[in-house]
């Protein structure tokens, strides 16, 4: 267990910048998720933490000690790869025991510890099998056991759930969370799936093109996204974004005009979450008559697509039964506090709000 810190960490591949200066501090025993689209540098960061890639500049410290020059095998980091990377020529038990081969631990003790971890991740019945004979979920557990058996300072999970089917993903999510809590091991999860990130981790770090966009709890990211990127990446179905122009206390977006509560000038992007939009809500702003063009029942809620004065907009209504039909005209609005405003040039969120 350790406190991990990244200071202005950079990685370049012959001129191409993969990670463009990251600062991050992870408390001992914390569970942090690094969330971002593919190619944002999150896996590169993970590989640098594991010691497989060497950073171009910047520092990585474990408990305050700089480990940049420590080889992968000296860092005592456990890693679960997306492909699980089990050793097909060894049995499950041999796989789990593999990391202990390189430590001065007696074989009997190594086996005892391996069996203990196997019980923890619930693969104690599979120890004599080979990885090829296991299902995806079982392989995942073996990989987890192998990463944990050496009692790592840091556990790294590289998209651990992306190869599992939906039902198993749900179970493994809670399983990993349970095991992490039980052991209290500092854990970093890398994923492109926001649900994985927000459900498993205490804190989520959103990365985009090699930079950290924002870090915080799931609630922070959802309610107070720091940038346009975070707003559009977090939330499903995605947020509605409209280009607008603010002048003289009014925001005009296409044909719609909204009064602003705070003074803003210039190009602004208006963000409306599909779930904050509602039909016939009292005290709503921006109420316009919108014509519904598509109805998609999703089970416990219904997703509508409508043509509004802002442009094409999507909104959600709770309840399995659709209450509107295609080509219905509905008065659509939103609570003023739910509208997000972003500066178009910098992409940063503005403190300004829409007036009631």
């Amino acid at each position: 267990m350790a406190r991990i810190e990244l200071k202005n960490l950079r990685k370049e591949w012959g001129g191409a910048i993969a990670v463009a200066g990251i600062d991050l501090a992870i408390e001992d025993g914390a569970f942090v998720a690094v969330l971002g689209p593919s190619g944002c540098g999150k896996s590169t960061t993970l590989m640098m933490l594991a010691g497989i890639y060497r950073p171009t500049s910047g520092d990585i410290t474990f408990d305050g000690a700089r480990v940049n020059d420590v080889e992968a095998r000296g860092r005592n980091v456990g890693i679960v790869f997306q492909s699980y990377a089990l050793y097909p020529n060894m049995t499950v038990l041999e796989n789990v025991m593999f990391p202990l081969r390189f430590k001065t631990i007696e074989r009997t003790e190594a086996e005892r510890r391996s069996r203990e971890v196997a019980t923890l991740v619930r693969i104690d019945g599979l120890l004599d099998r080979r990885p090829g004979q296991l299902s995806g979920g079982q392989q995942q557990r073996v990989a987890l056991a192998r990463a944990l058996v050496k009692r790592p300072h840091l556990l790294l999970l590289d998209e651990p759930l992306s190869n599992l089917d939906a039902g198993l993903r749900l179970t493994m999510r809670t399983e990993i969370r349970r095991i992490q809590r039980e052991l209290g091991v500092t854990t970093i999860l890398v994923t492109h799936d926001q649900v994985e990130a927000t459900t498993m981790a205490d804190r989520v770090v959103v990365m985009n093109s090699g930079r950290v966009e924002q870090q915080g709890t799931a609630e922070d990211l959802y309610e107070r996204p720091a940038t346009l990127f975070v707003a559009s990446f977090v939330g499903s179905p995605p947020i509605n974004l409209f280009d607008g122009h603010a002048a003289g206390g009014m925001l005009s977006v296409n044909e719609a005009r909204l009064p602003l509560a705070d003074p803003v000038q210039g190009a602004v992007v208006l963000g409306l979450r599909p779930e904050s939009l509602r039909v016939n809500g009292s005290g709503d702003s921006g109420r316009t008559i919108s014509r519904i063009s598509a109805v998609e029942p999703m089970g416990r809620e219904v997703l509508y697509t409508a043509d509004s004065a802002f442009g094409v907009i999507r909104f959600l209504e709770a309840g399995a039964e659709p209450r509107h039909r295609e080509s219905d005209d509905v008065p659509l609005g939103f609570p003023p506090a739910s509208a997000l405003l972003f500066d178009k040039d910098s992409g940063r969120r503005l403190d300004a709000r829409v007036a009631a």
Binding site: M47, A50, G51, I52, E71, A72, R73, R75, V77, G78, I79, F81, Q82, S83, A85, L86, Y87, P88, N89, F98, P99, R101, F102, K103, R146, K150
Partner: protein, 361 residues
């Protein structure tokens, strides 16, 4: 509406005659399979017959002539048996019955062969295994000249050449293949292309320069000299094949081993090598057999009879102005073929892997 038309058309169509279709499918499959079987039998006959001839002659011929009636008698028993089994195979679908029919046929054919040519079998032709100077019995002492070496001398020379060849090729091709597969270095693609060109280049054209070089180095007429030349000529291909196999091993596994505490060398040995074991087996078998059957280079670079390998031994046994004793030549050939044959039989399933790895490369 177009959709209505489609629905109407489907309704108007007559119901298909399922049993007739099934019969037609069965007939088509039957004729297809029989033609395939016939084709395979016809094509393999010219490949199988020489070996058959070799074995029959080795066990039946007497000094001074070859009686071909034994060969024809054997063929007259075996060919109908193969034909009958083919018909049984085609018309009986149950594997159990097929096996039983096959065993019965085999027993009948065996009994017939024993009755017809059984008493003519003998092992006299294999006397070269125990008597070094058997040549003097079939040739006049004057023509045989110098002492003819024992077959075991040639056998162990061949074995030495083949085993050392296998060891050199396995070591170099696995290490080089791994390096080319995993590391980026300047000129990597040129190197790869160069290896392919080298492989395509007919090595025979180099035979005179190599002869001269071996002479100057002092390795002419030594097994070591042939070993080095053969390894150098064969290696590019095997390096390429091994590179293909290493390409198929995911990076993750190595990275995982290194974060688990292994050094790169340990990761290679404990995790990567076991994954390419089929490739290693295939390369080893091919390298062994290639050296075992080598003729041109050994014929050119080995002169003294103490350095003969099996192929040279076979050549010198058959080389005689007074006429050839086919019985002994065939017996030596059987003895010579046996190790490669056994290797093929036992490693056959690994050898097919080679093409897979090769394509990946």
């Amino acid at each position: 509406m177009a959709a209505d038309n489609l629905v109407a058309a489907r309704g108007a169509q007559a119901r298909p005659d399922w049993p007739a279709l099934a019969r037609r499918a069965w007939r088509r499959r039957f004729t297809g399979q029989s033609m395939l079987l016939a084709f395979l039998v016809v094509v393999s006959a010219p490949i199988v017959l020489p070996y058959f001839w070799m074995v029959v002659i080795a066990f039946t011929a007497r000094t001074g002539g070859v009686a071909s009636d034994v060969l024809w008698t054997a063929c007259a028993v075996i060919a109908p048996a193969v034909l009958i089994y083919s018909i049984v195979h085609m018309s009986v679908p149950a594997p159990r019955l097929r096996l039983a029919a096959g065993l019965v046929l085999l027993a009948i054919a065996g009994a017939l062969l024993a009755a017809l040519i059984g008493e003519r079998l003998h092992l006299d032709n294999f006397r070269f295994l125990t008597r070094a100077n058997f040549v003097e019995e079939i040739r006049s002492k004057a023509t045989s000249g110098a002492q003819f070496p024992s077959v075991w001398n040639a056998f162990f020379n061949s074995l030495l050449l083949a085993v050392s060849q296998t060891v050199i090729i396995l070591t170099v091709s696995s290490l080089a293949g791994y390096y080319i597969s995993r590391f980026a270095f300047r000129g990597r693609s040129v190197f790869l292309q160069g290896m392919l060109v080298l492989h395509a280049f007919p090595a025979m054209t180099l035979i005179i320069p190599i002869f001269l070089m071996l002479h100057w180095i002092g390795l002419l007429d030594t097994i070591v000299g042939v070993m080095l030349v053969l390894a150098a000529i064969e290696l590019p291909f095997y390096v390429f094949v091994m590179k293909g196999f290493f390409d198929g091993v995911p990076w993750d596994i190595e990275m995982s081993a290194m974060t688990d505490g292994a050094t790169r060398r340990q990761a290679f040995r404990l995790v990567v090598l076991p994954q390419v074991r089929f490739g290693l087996i295939a390369v080893a078998v091919f390298a062994f057999i290639r050296a075992w059957e080598e003729y041109i280079f050994v014929r050119t670079f080995l002169i003294e009879n103490k350095n003969w390998v099996m192929s040279l031994y076979l050549f010198w046994v058959s080389d005689d102005v007074m006429g050839v004793d086919y019985g002994i030549v065939a017996a030596v050939a059987v003895f010579y073929v046996l190790p490669s044959f056994l290797l093929y039989v036992f490693c056959q399933k690994y050898l097919t892997q080679m093409t897979i790895g090769g394509i990946k490369g």
